[in-house]
Amino acid sequence: MTDLALDVVQQLLNGFLFGSSYALIGIGFTMIFGVMDKFNLAFGVTALAGAYTALLVLHLTQGPLALLFPVAVAAAGLVGLVVELVCFRWMPRDYPLAPLMATVGMLFFIDEVIVHGTHGRPMAFPAPMGEVMMDVGPWLLRGDLGFMFLVSLGVMGILWTLVYKTRLGLATRSVSQQPVAAQLCGISLVRVNAAVFVITGMIGGVAGVLIGSAVGALSPLLSLPLTVKGLVTAVLGGLGSIPGAIVGGLLLGIVEYEALYFFGIGYRDMVTYLLLFVFLVFRPGGLFGQTRH
C-alpha cells in the first residue's frame, strides 16, 4: 500500500474517532431543537462548565478520577437548568430571537467566568481512560477516542430508551409534536422543557469530561469551536435527529481530517463550511431530519 493510501485511511480513522466528540455535542443541540424548536447556543459551554467543575472538585478533594464523571454530569445538568430558566423560561414569548440571543449571551458569560477563574490558562485534564494507542496494522488508533465513540453510541441508546420507553419520553414527544395538545392533556410544558435541559446538560457533562481528557486540557478556547462544530453536526445530521447527530459528527470529523491532509490548515474550515452550505442548499433537513416547509 502506498504512503498516500495509508495516510488517507489513517485520516479516515482519526476523523471517524474524533468525530465522536462532535457527535456528543451535536446530540445536545439536536435534542433541545427537537423538543423546543429552538437553538441553545450555550450547550457547548455548558459541557465545558461541567468539566471545569469536575476538575475543581477533583483538585479540592484529591478524590479518584472516577469522580470526574458524576460531578461533571451533576454540574452540567444544573447549568442546563439555569440556561433553561434564564434564556428560555424567563424570556418573552413574543420575540423568537430573544432566547437565541440570550443563549449567545450565556455562552460568553460562562466563558468569561471560566476565564476569570483560571486567568485563561489551559488546565491539564486527567485522562481517566489512560492514553492507550492501538496498532492496527500500519495504522494507529487512539484508545480514548475509541472509548468516546462507544460512549456516543451508549448515550444514543440511553436516549432512545428514555424517549421511546418512558413516560417522560412520551411527554417529551408530545410536547415536541403538539405543545398545545400536550398541555390540554395535562402535560406540564415547563417541567418537560426543564427535564430536557437537565438531561442534555448531563450529556454535556459526559461530553465535557471525554473531550477534556481527549484534548488533555481544558481551556476557554474550546467553547466557541465546540459550539460551532456542535451546531454544524446537528444541521448535517438533521435537526432533531439523535442518530443524525452521531452520523453528522462522524461525517464532519472525517471531512475535516481529509481536508486538513489534502489542502492544509488554511482550507480545512473552508471545506467544512462548504459542506454545510451544500447540505443547506440541497438537503436542508440533513441526513436524518425532515425537510420543513
Binding site: N14, R121, P122, M123, L221, G264, I265
Partner: protein, 401 residues
Amino acid sequence: MRRMVTAALALLFVVGLLPALAPAPAAAQERVVKIAGTGAMSGVIRGFGVNSKAVFDMVVDEVNAAGGIKLADGTRAKIATTWLDERCNAEEGISVVRKLASEDWLVLIGPTCSNVAEPLFGILQRKVGDAGDSGLQFPIFTDTAIKPGLAKISEWAFRNVPHEPTMYTHLFKWLKEKHPDLKTVYGGVEKDFAHSNSNRGTMDAAAKAAGFEVMGWEEWLLADTEFSTQIGKMRRAKPDIVAISAHPFTTCGVLREMKRQGVKPKLMVGLTSTATLETMAGCGPEAEGLIIPSGFAPVTPEAKRVADIVAKKYKGNVDLHSAAVFENVLVLKRVIETSGVEAKPGTLQKDRQRVREGLAKVKEFDGLLGKVKRTEDRESVKPYVFAVAKNSDWAVLFDPR
C-alpha cells in the same frame, strides 16, 4: 432703594465668599505623574495581562514608597495609575488608548498582544513634528507585544521586548556547536496568531543559518485540539529537532500527541511566550527538555527579589513579558526626572513630548538580567538565557550573559 442696597451687599458677600468655597489651586495640590497601563485582562490571554498588572502595581508601590518621582521644579510627585483591558483585540486596544490619550495620562505601558500593538502604533503620529499628520501624540512603552520590528511604525512607540531573531540565531548556533551530530529540524506553527506566525520565519532562518536542514513546517490554529495529522507527518520525517512556534495551549496539545505517536526528537525548541508557568501547568511532564530562549529568569538577586514579591504580595508571575513592566516603570522614572516634566494641568502635551524625547535618548539601562541596550528604532536588545523545562519547572540551561 433700601432693598437694592441690601441685595447688592448680599451679592458682594456671596462673591467675596466664593474664593473661599472654591477648591484649592492646582499648584497647591499634591502633584501626580499619571502612568497608564493596558493589557489583556479577559479572554484566553488574560494570564499575560494579569502578570503585567501585578508587576506594574508592585513597582509603582515601590517607587511611591521611596518618595515618588522628582519633577522639574524639584517637587516630588507620586505615580497615579490605571490599568485597562485591551482584550487582545485591536479595536478594543485602540479605543482604550484613544480614551487615555484624551484624558490627562502622561504615558502608557502595554499592550499585551502584537495584533493590538501593530494597529495601535498605526494611529500614533508617524514622525514627530509632522504638522500634516494628525495621529495621536502619546508615548507608548510596550512590555509584552513581541512581534519583531513594530516600534518603527511610529516615533511615539517604544518597546522593551526581547529581540527574537537575535535569541534564536544564537540558540540554534549554540545547539549546533553542542550537538554537531544533529542535522535536521522539523517545525510546527500556530498559524493564526501574529507572534507565533512571525516567529516561524525567525526560527526557520536561525536554524538554516546554523547549518540545520529544515525538513518542513506543519501548521495548526490557536483553538485546535487535535494534532494527529501534523504529528503523523513529523513522525515519518524523523527529525533530530522539533521546533514549535506556538502558545502554551496548542504547544501542550502537540507535545501530548508527539508522546502518543512516539515522536522522540533529540531536542525540542519552543516559542519565547511558552517559557511561562502556563505551559508547566498545562503539560509539565510532556514539555520535559523543551528549550526556549527567555528574557527573564530569576538568576540575579534583583530578579529573584522582584519575582518573590510579585508572587507573594501581588499574586502574579514574573516572566519574560511581565519583567519588562518593572524595567519600563524605572526607565520612565529616570526619563521623567531628567527631561523636565512638570506634571501641571497646562503642561500635559509638552510633558508627553518630553517623555518621548527622553525615551528616545536612552541608550542603555539596567534591566533585571543586566544591561539593556536601546536601538535607533526604539527597540531593546536585552540579555537572555536559554531556559529548559525540567521536572515541571523552568531551569537555566545556558546563560550567555
